[in-house]
Amino acid sequence: MSTEHVDTTRTETTDGPDGSNGADASAGTPDGSAATDASDLDGEDLVLGYPNAPEPVIDGESIAAEPGAVTALVGPNGSGKSTLLKGLATQISPEDGSVLVDGEDVHSMDTKALARKLGLLSQESTSPNSITVEDLVYHGRYPHRGFFERTTDEDARAVEEAIELAGCGHLRDREVGSLSGGQKQLAWIAMVLAQDTDVLLLDEPTTFLDMHHQMEVMEIIETLRDRSDVTVVVVLHDIEQAARLADRMVALKDGEIRARGAPEEIVTEDLLADVFRVDADVVQTENGPRVTPLRARHED
């Protein structure tokens, strides 16, 4: 289905008044994706910073995530990609601008109602060691339950599906404290999947994992992409991974969006030089572009 939207994606290497472009693009989408219930996620003119920093990290950027598709945010360290994701997830309240889910401002939504629409997997998650994987996944149902409500069959079904999709059925009775880093990540992914949201934001889900678990996580995201009923925005450190997974990519540098578009438009030698400051060979293969970094650029 992503082909229907290719015309709405464009590469913008300059940061002009592209906010209007992003908003227009998303406003035009409902026709093509009527069959799915995936949500629109728009950030409009976002200014995002941290309380103790004088300058905002992101200063007036707009981003529209394509419904039902996977959008990857890439960029070097400190480019603001995680900050942008946290802004979209309302972990940071924007100093200016707004985040809209299906046209509704997230800051005016009830917190639980929002959590039924929008889920976030943070980079660092902590839990008590003695909690079992299954109990952890059940916490994902929190926004679906009232204050005194017990778990329903629907909760159980959602948890089963999430555990199956995340492939951690064999871990369900294990205590989280006894798991490896990769297994833990699968358990946490199962938890956000159990949240059953229309939008899923993932902050570097593959970082620090071994190859096997990186592939496990990538396969989960690919499944979500193929089902196209969840709008996924994922921050990825590895640009090859991002190109392989994503329908659209957004490249950031110094808090500015430098480029956005399909992976083959983004992963180019020019962009790697501009955004990542490396000289690299890019070869298109059947598994997506292969990037061979040659040397760091020092010409600042």
Partner: protein, 389 residues
């Protein structure tokens, strides 16, 4: 760590567990039964020995005296007070006479055991909540200024406003609650965080404790100083049914609220970010839960003064025994708290008599401290990882 067969059975198992299935966790049941045994043994010792000693058999018979247990007028007379009893039953005459032993046990010794149990429950639950709210296993009910606020008000009342000492329990509890609000106000800056709260608690605690110590200088009567020390270390000397009646309603409220909030507590343990992304209004929940914990702590301060260590150790012990699920932790605290407190009060009331032969009592807070210190020494030796400060 069950085998592969459990994968399919997991959901069904959970569904059949039902609303209260988690209560029948074998570890939790064991903890509860052991605690009840300690309370019963400790309680029997307390009602048997003292200035008027009786055998355990006599004490047992006095506790189970049908003249009280089967007479709702006597029971109500003890639990809700004489006035309310007469209002409820419409009974205007004299209550039937009781045996001497029964009178001593029911009027003097049993209420003290009950107050100890109530205080233990409150402190255990309060500590458990604060440990989740601050995400710090070494938090106690008094970490957010409650004890220093109460202590300062106790000293002010005893030393400066002597005329108000009849209201001392209430004033102490209120002082604790106000200090908690001050801590929250200091910690607030577009919201709070566990670290900000703990630091604000240290700030308020330091200042109030200095003022409290300073006030000791103005006490010109050794009796006032002793009374102040009793209140600020925690004592159950002289407690009777009035204290039970004062603390019971607040205790029931605090226990009900903390059980209702146990799912929120579980979520807080996953960290602020996760709780927020799951849709929790984290500031509201944190303040409400802290309020419940302060209510429980204040109820215990009003009847027993500031008993240290119980609120710190009990949740710690319970978590080691039943795991970190807060539904079980809270229920566990309702049993282990009374067990520790009743046992400690045996030492406080009778210990000096056994050791020195003198007929004097020490504040129970001294005994809980003497138990608490070695317990943490044991934990420190055994555990590599104590959680983060």
């Amino acid at each position: 760590m069950s085998g592969g067969g459990s994968v399919a059975g997991g959901a069904a198992h959970r569904a059949s567990e039902g609303r209260l299935g988690w209560l029948f966790d074998p570890k939790l049941v064991t903890v509860a039964l052991a605690s009840v045994a300690v309370v019963v043994v400790g309680g029997l010792v307390q009602v048997s020995f003292g200035a008027y000693s009786m055998t355990v058999g006599e004490a047992w018979r006095a506790v189970l005296d049908p003249a009280v247990l089967l007479d709702p007028r006597w029971l109500l007379n003890f639990i809700v007070g004489e006035g309310v009893m007469r209002a409820i039953t419409g009974f205007q005459g004299e209550l039937p006479e009781l045996a001497h032993e029964t009178l001593i046990v029911w009027n003097i010794r049993l209420p003290r055991v009950l107050v100890a149990a109530i205080v233990g429950m409150n402190l255990g639950v309060s500590g458990a909540i604060f440990q989740a709210v601050t995400r710090n296993e070494l938090a106690s009910p008094f970490i957010l200024g409650v004890s220093s606020g109460a202590g300062l008000m106790i000293l002010l009342t005893l030393v400066v406003f002597g005329g108000l000492s009849a209201f001392l329990p209430l004033i102490a509890a209120l002082g604790g609650a106000v200090a908690f609000l001050i801590v929250y106000a200091i910690a607030w800056k577009n919201g709070t965080s566990p670290v900000r709260l703990v630091l604000a608690g240290v700030i308020v605690g330091t200042v109030f404790n200095s003022l409290q110590t300073g006030l000791f200088f103005f006490a010109d009567d050794i009796g006032v100083v002793q009374s102040a020390i009793q209140w600020t270390t925690g004592s159950l000397t002289g407690t009777d049914w009035d204290q039970v009646r004062m603390a019971l309603p607040w205790t029931l409220a605090a226990v009900a609220l903390s059980l209702a909030g146990s799912r929120q507590l579980n979520l807080l343990l996953l960290g602020e970010q996760t709780a927020k992304s799951l849709g929790m209004s984290i500031e509201k929940v944190r303040f409400a839960l802290s309020g419940v914990a302060v209510l429980a702590a204040a109820a215990s301060i009003a009847v027993a003064g500031i008993v240290s260590f119980v609120g710190l150790i009990v949740p710690h012990m319970v978590r080691n025994l039943v795991g970190s699920d807060y539904k079980r932790v809270i229920v566990g605290c309702l049993f282990v708290g009374p067990a520790l407190m009743v046992a400690a009060d045996v030492g406080a009331r009778l210990g000096m008599g056994v050791i020195t032969g003198a007929d004097s009592q020490i504040p129970v807070g001294i005994v809980t401290g003497l138990i608490g210190g070695p317990y943490f020494l044991y934990l420190m030796r055994r555990q590599q990882n104590m959680g983060e400060l």
